[in-house]
Symmetry: C2
Subunit: 294 residues, 2 copies
């Protein structure tokens, strides 16, 4: 039995009619993981857990580390001891690249990593452990560096969802000169639609090369300021922004843009949903959701 | 009050008449660490804890990771919350360099890291966390990559001490064709005497540059086979070696030799105890200790 895909950070779309068996467990409990693996006999493990927020990792570094790196080590140990041919997809992050001196580079998988947040360190550690287990024990592991997700259903703890929700609220409230409080919106990120990401994971299970790392990204950058204006334009509204110092992080990367050449070449994946479509769908999601659920 | 130095992996030399206050604690207990720091008001924290064995990390990866990376993160968090000007010396390992394609390189601090054991990953993670806290919160952290330690008092869980102890036992037992069971003794390591290492730590507290990483090494390589023959020669005995497959690790680095240019330049440290002296002192230690204590 394969394991189906539920993206963390996104709501589960119950209208999709996909049948899933869920088993909620503490991934710090290694024995329990081993039992679940023996019971499910999966062909694939998609390890998306657990805290994927950079901001959360600054406030809760120990929790973020335990529930990213340590839980993943438990999964590796469990798979190693069960000794089956399970393919593991280890999900990493574009945050791993971190701070580049120049800043105008497109990140490739072979580039040096300079993580600058506890979250980014946890993800680099996870990737290094993947390589150790792939090389030392021959485990079948494929790794990703997934770039910034965007799409309908994303929780408002993530920046674009948070902006979208508040813009929709402002529009509905009919505010005359709406002001959006933000962190540093000059940062540039490479956004990729969650539905494209899921297709990439599926493709990597089937065709990804064992022991390899793949960027999953759009290949282009947009500043958060640009994204805000694009969403305001979809909503046919004008919006002003103001920086809330409390939202500024101790360190942040100015520019993170990736190359998707490797995954295109190896499995034929390419992003299909353009940014404009993603943003329209995000706005539609928050419009549909209404303010009563917020 | 400063914190004095007791090297893990080495016995404490009680004849040295240095006064130490000990407080035994679980470094996974963050609140306790904070209390201890507030109580001791240290100028320096030398973080040597805890499991420094590569072999142990293969057998107990989760424990090794928790008790290297996670405990260090607790120390960082405690120092950050106490918000004093404590200088932390974060002790890393030459194992961080890991697997080099070529293999004949002398490792410098700026080289890319390719850790190939759980222990090495834990140490790279510790170093990355150091950088995050130095950059993000301005913590005063100096980092080392300490190469293979050698010297009297080292515990026999470490390879040279283990060889020395067994060679001394063989010599005393008068075995006619003594055979030493080993792992892969073709591997080449850069050995540095623990007494030189301690001097380096002292110097880095006083003169090391904040946020920098320093190799602490001899700058030359010897295979384990050569070390065994040098010790046999000190003992005036002939010894044969045989590989025990159980001692072969899932992955191992063939050659690890470091450059000590940076620490020479920045703090004027250089190794003073030649390898021959170290080995004589190691043999003397095990001779003195006798077989009754083993």
């Amino acid at each position: 039995m394969g394991v189906d895909i539920v993206q963390p950070g996104f709501e589960w779309d119950r209208s999709s009619h996909v049948q899933l068996d869920f088993e909620k467990t503490d991934l710090l409990d290694r024995e329990r993981i081993e039992k679940i693996i023996l019971q499910f006999h999966p062909n694939y493990i998609l390890h998306l857990a657990s805290y994927s927020s950079v901001a959360f990792s600054w406030a809760n570094p120990v929790k973020s580390f335990l529930n990213n790196t340590n839980i993943f080590l438990n999964v590796l140990e469990a798979v190693h001891s069960v000794n089956s041919g399970i393919r593991i997809l280890s999900i990493g992050s574009s945050e791993e690249y971190g701070d580049m001196a120049g800043g105008d580079e497109i990140f490739c998988e072979d580039d040096a990593l300079h993580p600058i947040s506890p979250y980014a360190v946890a993800r680099v550690s996870q990737e290094m452990l993947s390589k150790v287990y792939a090389k030392g024990y021959g485990l079948d592991i494929v790794m990703t560096r997934s770039f910034n997700h965007i799409g309908p259903g994303q929780k408002e703890t993530f920046v674009i969802a948070s902006f979208a929700k508040r813009l929709v609220e402002m529009k509905k409230s009919g505010a005359t000169s709406p002001k959006l409080m933000t962190g540093d919106i000059s940062v540039i990120r490479d956004f990729v639609d969650v539905r494209d990401v899921v297709r990439a994971y599926d493709g990597l299970f089937k065709k990804g090369r064992r022991g390899e790392i793949y960027n999953i990204c759009g290949g282009a950058g947009n500043s958060l300021a640009e994204i805000i204006q694009k969403m305001a334009s979809i909503l046919e509204m004008k919006v002003f922004t103001e920086i809330d110092e409390k939202l500024i992080r101790p360190s942040d990367n100015k520019v993170i843009i990736g190359s998707n050449e490797k995954i295109r070449r190896d499995i034929g994946w390419a992003p299909e949903i353009p940014l404009k479509q993603s943003l329209e769908d995000v706005i539609h999601f928050w419009n549909q959701r209404g303010m009563t659920h917020s």
